[in-house]
Point group: C2
DNA sequence: ATTGCTATTATGTCGCTACATAATAAGTCA
DNA sequence: TGACTTATTATGTAGCGACATAATAGCAAT
């Protein structure tokens, strides 16, 4: 009899329901953890865990002494999983192919330096490559690699190994920044991806850092129709 | 003396560093929580919290009895915060404007029904609107609203209130699906957004549900140059 | 050999206590 | 009155113990 147990998730769901049902409105103050624990007949640590989860999901705000409040400005928070391109293709049942297009040391444009947080202009290694699914262009990547922080890359034969896979295995990062946007395909991109010039491309741009030191910046131009899906 | 304390975050960082530095390779098994707790001189619950965080960030996998392993296929996980358009504009210091373009009951295309999980074809309420920043088109939204699950919407004057804001305040959702992609502007979109036909638009498509019952599907066509930024 | 029960192992969850920390309010002394 | 100290309040973090649960291994009966 009685209910089986009070898990922190059930507490979270209950509080969330209260908020979503409007029993607590944006800006309202929620009961203290201790009180809630008593009414729900559980320990405060259980409530605390539930509340922390709601903070992470962006529904509430908590301040010491100030208490817990429903966020005034709700935000929708979603999680994106970005897989390695090879796996993304293989796991969808298609055959993966990789092709190095060019590899050279070059002076990056200011925008690239800015995104990597580099102040003094310096040449970087640029590697362009194509990921193929069943032999057809799937993602074109334009990559800038910091030779200063990753000198080992110069000894790797990127003709066969994707820089991405090498870096993932050999150069861990502690932080990264993602930028998502749309761009028209220019002449050379269109040619390499076998699409029409002017087609709308979804671009995933990722800059990785290790301890604030830049490692690499990669722009992935995806085939028209590509979608990134996220769920709550 | 001795070190001050062992926080679960310090444990997490330590384990993460071990993995990133290659002391544990993909697929390797990590020590049991209990052992780790002993060597680090802390409680198992502290280790457990640290490990759970690493699971959430996609670095490791845990299975009861099976133990903790470094994920073989690393995934990059990022969190996106999607704010209400009005706030996004206001917080960037620009003036927000809203304009209803059209409002009518219509038969949605199959793709819309599919994304909302509706099997039997039925008319939905369609509301198109424009969000303006400093008087210029910023986001064009094309929205389908389930009148069956949200009949109250028909009594709201959407000429002045954005359907988005009304729904957020009055119709909570428990789950949503996000789709991000790029699309060429067609003639009418281009006209409404005051851009050129064929321009590459970044599209944010969101379907919200309450308890698996569909509420609304909205496609937000963003002004060229729009970027979505996520950080770890 | 196959099925079924039991033991083992490692993680998952929860309660309780204790102390830390941040924010604020109240009080105190010059 | 103003600056400093102290108390209060509510959340944050950690420890420890206990039991739950899932996955596996081992053993036993047929």
């Amino acid at each position: 009899m009685a209910e089986r147990k009070t898990t922190w998730k059930s507490v979270r769901d209950r509080v969330r329901d209260d908020i979503l049902a409007g029993r607590f409105k944006p800006g309202d103050r929620l009961p203290r953890d201790a009180d809630l624990a008593e009414t729900l007949n559980c320990a405060r640590s259980t409530v605390q865990r539930a509340m922390q989860d709601l903070v992470d999901s962006g529904l509430i705000e908590r301040r010491r002494k100030g208490g817990t409040h429903v966020r005034r400005e709700p935000i929708a928070r979603a999680t994106l999983d970005i897989r390695v391109t090879r796996l993304e293709i293989e796991q969808s049942g298609r055959e993966y192919g990789y092709q190095l297009i060019s590899l050279e040391e070059a002076a990056p444009p200011a925008s690239v330096l800015a995104k990597l947080g580099i102040t003094a202009p310096r040449p970087l290694l640029r590697a362009d490559a194509l990921h193929l699914a069943d032999g057809r262009p799937y993602i074109l990547e334009e990559r800038w690699i910091c030779t200063q922080t990753t000198p080992e890359i110069s000894q790797v034969d990127l003709t066969w190994i994707s820089a991405n896979e090498w870096l993932i295995k050999n150069k861990p990062y502690s932080r990264y920044e993602l930028r998502l946007y749309a761009q028209k395909a220019n002449a050379s991109t269109a040619r390499q991806m076998e699409i029409k010039r002017g087609d709308a491309l979804f671009v995933i741009e990722r800059a990785t850092f290790e301890d604030e030191r830049p490692i690499t910046l990669v722009k992935s131009f995806t085939q028209p129709g590509y979608q990134l899906v996220a769920t709550t």
